[in-house]
């Protein structure tokens, strides 16, 4: 079997990264498995990642594949880079997406660097996304073949250098194929659940409890107002609310009530009706283009404003200072400051930024 080079695979003990490692071994790569220890509380109750269970599962898969396997302690970096960002973004009245930051700076930042120093040519993960190298040598990030599992949204900040050194072995597979491969190869993890987003937040995914515990100083109660400025009640702290949220507001109004805005200056949660939520444009900051070049604009794209929301046709206008303006063809209800807006043309990811 031809040796295609050395690749470090980030393993989580879940079925996806286990199959990713398996495919690479079968394709003739020399594979090194690593698991990142990201969060300090590593008990079965404390969080959902790097539990003793998932560690044991990853170790077993590595043994089945006869590859070296290491646990890397990234707790300090993860806390500084991801968790602090997560908490402070909420505290500033915006809704963070920690997976994006983790991918950009921890997985495809620190870990990629470490993999290359280890002598590997590539870092691989079990993400559902594809990388395509064009004839001119440009690397393109594309949606995974399984559109229901596509993770290109959380990978949109990768740059050309990173894409050159990254492999996504599952990009051309459907989730159902991945499960079948796991079963066929007798991987012990074939029936394990997939890794969770918000891996560091408790078992039930309750981020509010996490913030209350981890950063209680950021939880300041304040007024809950309607768009006319009428006081309707008290909120528990801006960090506990997200634009578009309907549940748990504790107000009684004739119409369905949504959070429409978080006012950090007045420490106020502003609520309103569904129609007050809809907007057909947004500005984005820290916009990154995968190609490394700012494209000529205005440009027709489809844009995605949340990980799991559908693409919407839109016009992208690139602005100075890494900003961009996006005008949607129809109003959207869930435009949430802090979340990423990601631009696509067909299956190709152009890039994206954070909603202002």
């Amino acid at each position: 079997m031809a040796n295609r080079g050395i690749v470090v695979v980030a393993m989580s003990g879940g079925v996806d990264s286990s199959v990713a490692a398996t495919l690479l071994v079968e394709q003739g790569y020399t594979v090194i498995g690593v698991m990142l220890r990201l969060w300090a509380v590593c008990s079965s109750e404390g969080n959902r990642c790097c539990t003793p269970d998932s560690l044991a599962a990853a170790r077993q898969v590595a043994a089945q594949l006869n590859i070296p396997f290491y646990v890397l302690d990234y707790r300090e970096a993860f806390r500084h880079i991801v968790v602090d960002y997560f908490v402070s973004t909420y505290a500033a009245g915006r809704t963070p997406n920690p997976c994006i930051i983790c991918n950009e700076r921890v997985r495809f930042g620190l870990l990629l660097n470490e993999a290359l120093v280890l002598g590997a040519q590539y870092l691989a993960t079990g993400h559902y996304a594809r990388i395509h190298r064009t004839e001119t040598g440009e690397y393109r990030l594309m949606r995974g073949k399984d559109l229901t599992k596509d993770q290109s949204y959380v990978l949109h900040r990768l740059n050309q250098w990173q894409l050159q050194h990254v492999l996504f072995p599952l990009g051309d597979w459907l989730k159902s194929d991945v499960r079948r491969i796991a079963l066929q190869r007798g991987l012990v993890v074939h029936n394990r659940a997939e890794s969770q987003d918000l891996c560091f937040v408790g078992e039930n995914g309750d981020y509010r409890a996490f913030i209350a515990q981890y950063a209680p100083q950021l939880v300041h109660p304040g007024p809950l107002l309607d768009t006319g400025g009428t006081l309707l009640g008290q909120h528990q702290g801006l960090a506990f609310y997200t634009v578009g949220q309907r549940k748990g507001l504790g107000v009684t109004r004739a119409q369905r009530t949504y959070v429409v805005r978080l006012d950090t200056v007045r420490n106020a949660v502003i609520v309103g009706n569904a129609e007050e939520l809809g907007r057909d444009e947004l500005f984005a900051r820290a916009v990154h283009y995968i190609s490394g070049q700012v494209p000529a604009s205005p440009l027709r794209v489809t844009a995605r404003i949340r990980y799991k929301s559908p693409d919407v046709p839109a016009t992208l206008t690139c602005l100075e200072g890494n900003r961009a303006h996006i005008k949607f063809d129809r109003p959207l209800r869930d435009i949430t400051p802090g979340q990423a807006v990601v631009f696509y043309q067909g299956d190709v990811v152009l890039g994206g930024g954070f909603i202002e």
């Binding site: 220890r37 970096a77 880079i81 280890l118």
Partner: protein, 402 residues
């Protein structure tokens, strides 16, 4: 030691396709002679030694034999030996058992220990202070990781009931002036315990020369299996059992005796002591070759622990600008099994308390490397390490923390 890639499951080996095992302070392979001695006591002689039938007699006989063999090595009476499941259990039984028994009769609740103990000792004493009203005085170590017996003497109070000092450090290999501490303990009539887990295969274990009252050993550090340990308790020392039940081990450690492992431990200890003189000399030569080689090839690598008063198989360094875990991973990929310090702390990225106590700056202490030699280690192995290590250290210089 030869290990096929398939059997080890997870190694690519050196370029010669061989795994070089340099982590003997963490654990050793079971000597085949030890394994042979143990084998009859699994399926052939399996009786519970407490019984009265022929099967029980066979086990009881082996148990007695093992106890006598161990006692001979330690220069003590067989009844002064308690078999346990590991070094940590021995340390716990010694410290808790002796300190609680002394406190019970109003002798006091003060314990003296050192800054270079294994966690099996330091965490045990810390818990007794936190939950059971004991107080501790921790004597410092110098930059070689060595205590000063005069500090122990100064720390003695009227309510001191126990002194616990490690015989030789697991992390830095320094051998403590234990007999001098024994002298002081004897003079003041205070019990002296030593964690001799690392010393077991290499140093004099005669309890009278050392003047110790309690001594812990762990079998898997000297080619017996994991899960075997023992504690010497001098006759007349009051010990409150920490595990109660049947009257095993003189009523001091309840639980059916693990006969095959006890047989293994005794056989291994006897072999280790027989081989000690010649093997120590061989190991010390290899050790010095490794230390000199590392210091030549990596000029800023710093030896930790005492240069001569150290275990014959033990080398340890700190290397500036290098993170231990990354270094160990690279060595593993090159087929070399190494450690950073205590195996019980692997995976953590905090600097070792012991290195800090020796005055090594925290940043430097993160780059700890421990290479501990054993019976299988050859001069060729050392040369392979010396050929591989400098390049890895060089390469890791490129890995800058974010």
């Amino acid at each position: 030691m030869e290990m096929g890639a398939g059997a080890s499951g997870i190694s690519r080996g050196t370029s010669a396709g061989r795994v070089i095992y340099l982590d003997h302070s963490a654990s050793t392979p079971v000597d085949v002679r030890v394994l042979e001695a143990m084998m009859p006591f699994f399926a052939e002689h399996y009786g519970n030694p407490s019984g009265i039938h022929c099967q029980a007699r066979a086990s009881a006989l082996a148990l007695d034999q093992a106890r006598m063999e161990v006692a001979e090595v330690l220069g003590c009476k067989p009844k002064e030996i308690i078999f346990t499941s590991c070094g940590t259990e021995s340390d716990n039984l010694a410290i808790r058992g002796a300190a609680f028994a002394a406190a019970q009769v109003g002798k006091g609740r003060h314990i003296i220990t050192s800054a270079c103990e294994h966690h099996a000792v330091s965490h045990t004493i810390a818990q007794m202070c936190e939950y059971f009203g004991f107080q501790q005085t921790t004597v410092p170590v110098d930059h070689w990781g060595m205590i000063d017996p005069a500090d122990v003497k100064r720390a003695i109070r009227p309510d001191t009931v126990l002194i616990s000092i490690i015989y030789a450090s697991n992390e830095v290999g320094t051998i403590q002036p234990l007999a001098e501490v024994g002298e002081i303990a004897r003079e003041y009539g205070i019990l002296l315990h030593t964690d001799a887990v690392q010393a077991g295969g290499y140093l004099d274990l005669n309890v009278d020369r050392l003047q110790v009252d309690l001594l812990s050993l762990s079998g898997h550090k000297f080619y017996a299996p994991k899960g075997s340990g023992m504690l010497f308790v001098r006759e007349g020392v009051a010990l409150l059992p920490q595990q109660t039940g049947g009257g095993h081990e003189g009523g001091r450690r309840a639980g059916t005796e693990n006969v095959p492992y006890i047989v293994g431990l005794a056989k291994a200890l006897k072999l280790a002591q027989e081989m000690r003189a010649t093997e120590n000399e061989r190991l010390a030569q290899l050790r010095d070759r490794l230390i000199q080689g590392v210091q030549t090839a990596i000029p800023n690598a710093q030896l930790t622990g005492h240069p001569d008063r150290r275990l014959p198989h033990h080398t340890s360094f700190v290397i500036p600008g290098v993170k231990a875990n990354a270094l160990l991973m690279h060595l593993d990929l090159a087929g070399i099994c190494a450690a950073s310090g205590s195996a019980c702390n692997t995976g953590a990225s905090e600097p070792s308390d012991i290195l800090l106590a020796m005055g090594i700056p925290p940043q430097l202490a993160l780059g700890a490397l421990r290479l501990t030699l054993g019976r299988s280690t050859t001069a060729e192995d050392i040369d392979t390490v010396l050929a591989v290590l400098p390049a890895i250290v060089d390469r890791l210089g490129a890995l800058r923390p974010a």
